[in-house]
Structures are given as C-alpha cells and as structure tokens.
C-alpha cells in the first residue's frame, strides 16, 4: 500500500492515503454524474476499490450513498461517467457482484425458506425444486456465515441478525469478487449486530473479496474498514485510511446522523455501536 496524494478529477485533494494504483481494481468509478429532473444527485464521483479491500462508504443522509449503490448495481442509469467491475462495464459484470440490501426492501412475509433465497440467487429465478448439488452449495455457504441451522427455516421466522446472515450467504453464493452491503445492520438488535460485525470482519480479512459497506455505524468502520470513502452532497469529500478520516470533523457527523451524541475523534477512542 503506497501513499498517493490525489489529483485526478473528482478525487479530493488532501493528504489521504489512497490504494496502490498497481493493484487489480475490482471496482473503478470515474467522474460519475447522476441527474434526476431538476437535481444532481452525484456530482463527479471517482474512486476505485482494489482486490480484497474492505471500503466503508459513509456520509450524511442525502449525500448520495444509495444513489451510488443503485447506479453501480445498474438499477439507476448514470448521466455520464463510467463504472467498471474487473475492467468490464458494470452492466456486463453483475454476476461478479453480491448484494446485501437493507432489510426493508424484501418481502419477508413471502412463503419461503432460507435455502430458497440462496438457490434463487444461484439460478437467477425462484426455485420450485432444489437439486442435490444446489442444496449442498447452500449448506456450504450457510456454514461459511455460521448459519447452517437456518437452511430450512422460514424467512418470516428469522430474527434480524439471522436474516442478514442468510442475505450475506445469498450474496456470497456465486463467489463474487465484490460484495456490496447497504446498511446491513440497520434495525438489527445489539447481539445480532455484534455477530454480524464479526462476519464482516472476516470478510475484511479476506485477500480475495472486495467489499463496500454503506454504514452510519462507526463501530463497523473501526472494526472492518481498510479504507473509508466519505460522500457529501454527491461528491467524494474524503477518501483514505480510517485513522486519517475518523478524526475529520465531517466524519464525526456520521454519529450525529446515527442519533448518537458521540463524536468520533479517533478510532482509538470508544466508538458508538448504536445506529
């Protein structure tokens, strides 16, 4: 990892340590602009995520985090700029991306078991019958996230923590190069959140899998982030190592947004783990 001081368009000026440019770039975003009628949501975003790096994407509400994720995932069209995944246009490489949505987006009253969700992710369609090899793969990936006993459990009966464990399994089942997690611990109880952070820390330790975690949770940033990208008003206002950003006044706003009274001055300080 080398210290690079940014100069390119859309990359913030300042003494932040950027990833080694010679590393394989799993995600590369260049001058991304997204407009909706009458408003600019993303205003020239540029950064990249190298192989194996765990990036926390932070910023206040309305900064453009969700718009950014939706654009990367092809759910919103960019106005201009480019998004490349492993060198390919994002739309042609979505099989290389695993996605863990916010809990509120899925219909958890849907009559299904955990295994159905995982096999649906493998097939790209809902399974009527599950083949033996699919069951074996579902067991394997659930075991990987510590949720083997959830295989046959109805999704309506999963706790918040169990739900996110199953969604993480479905995101990882196709062996992606990049996993994107959109505030996965929002609304999850304290125990479930702590357990999920343990899982994220394991992903962070991986040299193969890159991850982008959208979070307001400074405990998650301190525990998992190898780098932090801070969005504000549709622009990248800071991009660097957690230690470089956690002292920034702007990042302290995250905890305020999260409803905490705790301003983060350093990642050595006690950090709020409440969202």
């Amino acid at each position: 990892m080398s210290a690079v001081h940014a100069e390119a368009d859309g990359i913030p000026q300042g003494h932040f340590t950027l990833p080694d440019p010679s590393l394989t770039r799993v995600l590369e975003v260049e001058n991304l602009i997204v407009d909706v009628p009458g408003r600019r949501l993303l205003d020239g975003i540029s950064f990249w995520v190298p192989k194996g790096e765990f990036v926390c994407l932070c910023g206040p509400n309305g900064a453009g985090k969700s718009t950014f994720l939706k654009t990367v995932l092809g759910l919103m069209p960019p106005t201009s700029g480019s998004i490349r995944i492993l060198g390919k246009p994002a739309q042609k490489a979505l099989r290389d991306v695993g996605y863990v949505p916010q809990r509120k987006t899925s219909d958890m009253t849907f009559p299904a078991r955990s295994i159905d969700l995982i096999v649906a992710s493998m097939r790209g369609s809902w399974p009527l019958r599950i083949r033996e090899e699919e069951r074996a793969r579902a067991i394997e990936i659930l075991r990987h996230v510590g949720g083997e006993k959830l295989l046959e459990k109805e999704i309506a009966r999963l706790s918040g923590g169990e739900t996110q464990r199953v969604f993480l399994a479905r995101a990882l089942v196709n062996k992606p190069s990049l996993v994107i997690l959109d505030e996965p611990t929002a609304g999850v109880d304290v125990k479930g959140r702590a357990e999920f952070l343990d899982l994220l820390a394991e992903i962070s330790a991986s040299d193969e899998l890159a991850a982008i975690l959208v979070t307001h949770n400074l405990a998650a940033v301190a525990r998992c982030a190898e780098r932090v990208v801070y969005l504000d008003a549709g622009r990248v206002s800071a991009w660097g190592l957690p230690g470089e950003l956690l002292g920034q006044a702007s990042l302290s706003a995250i905890s305020a947004v999260a409803g905490g009274d705790h301003a983060a001055h350093s990642h050595h300080h006690k950090l709020p783990d409440e969202e």
Binding site: L75, L94, D107, P111, A120, R123, W126
Partner: protein, 273 residues
Amino acid sequence: MDGWLEPLLVPFMMRAMIAGAVVGGLCAMIGVFVVQRGLSFIGDGLAHAAFGGIALGLLLGVSLERMTWVALPFTVLIALGIGYVLRRGSLRGDVATGVFSAVSFALGVLLLGLRSTDGPQVNVETVLFGSILAISPDDLITVSVVGVVTTLLMAFTWTKLAYATFDPELAALSGVKVAALDYMLLALTAVVIVVAVKTVGIALVSSFVVIPAATAKMVGRSIGRVALLAVAIGVVGSSIGLMLSYYADVASGATIILTLGGMFGLALLFKKK
C-alpha cells in the same frame, strides 16, 4: 348419473361448472401474486374499471354478450395505467387503483346515461352480480381461451415472477425483466377479471382473486405450494358453491363467494403455527 351430481346433466349447469372452475382457478393463480404484492384491492378496482368498458361498448351499440371484447382492451389499458403510476413510485398501489377505478366507474355511469334509449336493454343487476348460469357456449370458448393463454404465460414466467415478487431489486440484479413482468401480471389480472365479471359480477369478483390466495397463504410454506393450494381452493370452492346454490335455489355467485369465505374461516382455525 344420478344423486347429488344430477345437476351436471343439465347443460347450463355443466357450462356454469366448467366456467366457474376455470375462472376460480385462474383468479386464484393470479391472486397469489396480487395478494403477496399487497395489491388485493386491484381486483375490485379493475372490476369497476371493466364497468367503464362495458358502458363504452353499450354506447357503441355492442350487445351485452359481446361486451367482453370492448371491456377487455379498456380494462387492460386501465391496468397498465395503474402499473405505470406504481412504477413511477410516487403513489401507493391502493391510491393508484382507487383513482383509476373510480374514474373508470364514473365514466361508465356517464356513458350509460349518454346512450340511445333505442339500444339494447341492460340489466344492471346482472352486470353487478354476474350470471354464471347464463354462460353461453360462446362464453365458454372465451373462458377456455383466456384460461389456456393465462396458464401458459404464468407457467413460462412463474419462477421469475416469484423472484420479482419477493424482491424486485434482487430479481433485477439477477437479470429478471421486472418491469415487463409487472405489466404482464397487471394485464393478465385485467383479462381474468373481465372474464370473471361475467360469472360472479363486478361486486364479488375481487373475492375470487383474494380469498383463495389468502387462504392458501395461511397454510402453505412455499410459494409453489401456496399457488397449487390456491388454485385447488378456487376450483373446488367454485364447484361446491355452485352445487349448493343449485340445491338451495339461491344466487350462485354469492354462494360461491360464501363457500370460499367458509374455506378461509377453516384455514384461519387450522393455520400453521
């Protein structure tokens, strides 16, 4: 054939039985997705929209027997309009349905008032409450064609439709054409509703869509089983209701719905814990 199956020897009862079973099964099949998506009100809304189509047909001088062919495109257009509003995301499904159906129904009332008094007489009660016992051989052909086309389309798209119902974003990421499926489901719902209006009428048709699916959802543990169960409830409930109405000599559409309501009550008692 004798005993309690004797009514099936009567041609109009045989036609009613077939039409009721097909329409009951189709509404239930569509209803599984409609109910799961929280759009239960859409059956009622589209039935009211169909009234606008029927009135338009009457104004154009089309006979009540051939009214389906005017009501169909009209109701499908309304359904697609609701879909468009839903996809824009600015209004909830019940609001969009409420606005479109109320406007269509009001248009129907207006058009009925505008038609010439020399035109064919219309029994509004028949339109409101249906006339399954008056199903003609031509109607049966229409019901059968709609049944085959709807079943084939649902069968080909079932696994994608289920995925998009669970989570449209995740389905889209897996390459599912969510928008196209949404519009297809709404258009099919409109087609099935228009055909069903002939059997149970505008006032009761939404029960055909909602009750079997809601009953099956209480019992089934997978979407596949819920769908099979809902279709079985729709077909069996319709057949039992029709037979009961024959022997009790009461309104058939209402008896079918009450039978379905009874099955819902039973499921409520014995639903999965």
